[in-house]
C-alpha cells in the first residue's frame, strides 16, 4: 500500500499542516518506511479478538451534573494570541 506524494498532500491537509513539495516527497518516503514496517501486524490472527481501547477494566465514573468550576474569563483568555474584553479574536470565519 505505497503512499505517493498526492496522498501525503491529502493527509497533510486533513492534519491541517502545510508542507513544501520537497518535504512532501521526503515524507512520502518516510511514511512508506514506517507503514511498511507496520504491515507485519497482518501476521497476527485477530479474527476472534475485541479491540482494546483501554488497559484498565473500569466503568466510566460519573459525577453529579453540577457546576464545579468557572467564572475565570481572565484565566481562559490569558494565553490567547489575540483577545479583547474577554473575547478571543479570530480570523473571519463567515464571508
Amino acid at each position: 500500500m505505497a503512499i505517493d506524494v498526492a496522498t501525503v498532500r491529502k493527509v497533510a491537509s486533513l492534519s491541517r499542516l502545510r508542507e513544501s513539495d520537497e518535504r512532501l516527497e521526503s515524507l512520502a518516503g518516510q511514511l512508506n518506511g514506517i507503514l511498511g514496517w507496520i504491515e507485519q501486524l497482518n501476521e497476527v490472527d485477530v479474527s476472534d479478538v475485541q479491540p482494546m481501547t483501554s488497559c484498565v477494566e473500569m466503568t466510566q465514573p460519573l459525577r453529579d451534573d453540577v457546576v464545579t468550576d468557572g467564572g475565570k474569563v481572565a484565566d481562559v483568555v490569558s494565553n490567547a494570541p489575540k483577545s479583547l474584553d474577554g473575547f478571543f479574536i479570530v480570523p473571519k470565519v463567515v464571508e
Partner: protein
Amino acid sequence: MSELTKLTLKSALDGLKAKQFSSTEMTEAFIGAIEKANPALNAYVLTTFDKAREMAGESDRRLKAGEARALEGAPLGIKDLFCTKGVRTTACSGILDTFVPPYESTVTQNLWDDGAVMLGKLNMDEFAMGSSNETSHWGPVTNQWKSNASNAPLTPGGSSGGSASAVAADLCLAATASDTGGSIRQPAAFTGTVGIKPTYGRASRYGMVAFASSLDQAGPITKTVEDAAIMLQSMCSHDAKDSTSLPNALPDFSSFVGKSIKGLRVGIPDEYRLDGIPGEIDALWEQGIQWLKDAGAEIVRISLPNTKYALPCYYIVAPAEASSNLARYDGMRFGHRTEAASSLTDTYELSRSEGFGAEVKRRIMIGTYVLSAGFYDAYYVKALKVRRRIAEDFVNAWNSCDVILTPATPSAAFQLGDTEKAADPVQMYLNDVFTVTTNLAGLPGMAVPAGLDSKGLPLGLQVIGKALDEGTTLAVGAVLEKAAGFTHKPSQWW
C-alpha cells in the same frame, strides 16, 4: 555545600528532619550546581530559583515548627510536560513556547502539598515524542556520560532526557517524568538512574500535556529504588479530574524496598532475546537472573508470543491518539498563531506548521492516515486487536510467574546527531523494543542501573510487574540494585 547535591532523596529528607542542614542551604547548593552545569547539559529549559527560595523558606519554617510533610524541603526538577501554575510550560514545543498555565497538574500539586521545592522545568522531546531528546524546541540535552573510546556527546535518551540528566548530574534530588513507550525507563537506563512507570491510572494525567492518552503515565526518575518509592507515593493519587484515574488505595511503597524475594517466581521471556542485540546486553541479563537466583527467587522461562508486534502496534495507536490530542493546537485560544495568514484555513495550517517540529508533524500525519476513511479498520482497529493479544500474553504469563525481568534497552546511550537514526525513524523507534509492551498492557515497569558496558556506559535491567503490583516491582528492583552495587558516576567534564 556541593556535597548536599549528592545526597539521595531519602538521606536528604532524613538530614532535613534532623536539622543537619536547612532546605534553603540545600536549595542554594542545587542552584549553584545548575548555574554551573546547565550551559553544558541543557537539562533545565526554565529555572525558577526565586520560587525555589520561597518554597525552601516555607519548608524551613515548617521543619523548625515540627510540621514537616513527606517531602518537606526536597528540591525537585519537573519535566516540562507538567502544567505548573504561573510557570511557563511548553512540552518543549514551539507551538507552546510562551504558554503559562493558569492551573497546576495534579501530580505536581501532590508534590507541593507534600512540601517539595521546585527548581525548574526539565527538557524533553517535543510533546514527549522521541527517544533522544533531540526533538526538543529548546535543543537536545547532553548526557554527562561519555564513552571511554570517544569524546563525542551522547544522548541521555528520551523523551525524559532532561529529567534523567538532571538526576544523574546531581541537579535535583529527584525528578518527575512521563512514559508513553519507554520515556522514563530508557533515559534512566542511559544515565545510570532509576525510573519507574506505575500501573496506568495510578498517577493522574490532569494537567500533563497529552501525547497518547491511553498510554501516557507519569512516574519519577531518581537516584535509588528507595527514592523511587518515596516519589511514587507522593505523585500517585486518585483524581476525579482524570476519568481513567484508579480509585485503588496506595500501598506503602517504601515498605517493599528491602523485602525478601525468596520463593518469588521471576519470568524470563524467550521473545526478548532479539537478533542483533549486543552480547553485553544479554550478558547483563544473565547476570541479573543470577542475582535474583542468589536472592532466593525461582527463575521461570515464559513466552510472550506477540512481543514482536508491540512496536508496530504502538506506532499506530500512539500517533492516532496524538493526532487527535494535538488537534487542539489551532492557534485560536492559546499557543502559537501565525502572522502570515489571511484566511481561517491558512491560519490553522501555517500556525501548526510553524509551531510543530518535524517528528511531531510526522506522527500527526501517520495518526491521521491510520484513522482516515478506508484505512481505519485495516490499521487502527487492527492495532487495537493486536494490543489485546499483547495484553493477554501477560495475563497468561502471570499464571507461571509473579514478575518479569528483561533488559531495559537494546543498547547503551548513542551519539547525539546519530545520522542513521535520524534518516530512518524506525531505527529510532526500536529503542523502545523492551519497554513499549508494558505501556500497551498498562503494567508497571522499572529500569534499574545494573552495570557498565565495555565503553564505560551504563546499562539497565527492567522489572515488569502485575497491574497494581508496583510493590513487588520495587522489591525486585531493590534486590538488583543491591547486588549490582552500581555506584559509578561519570567523570565531571561540564
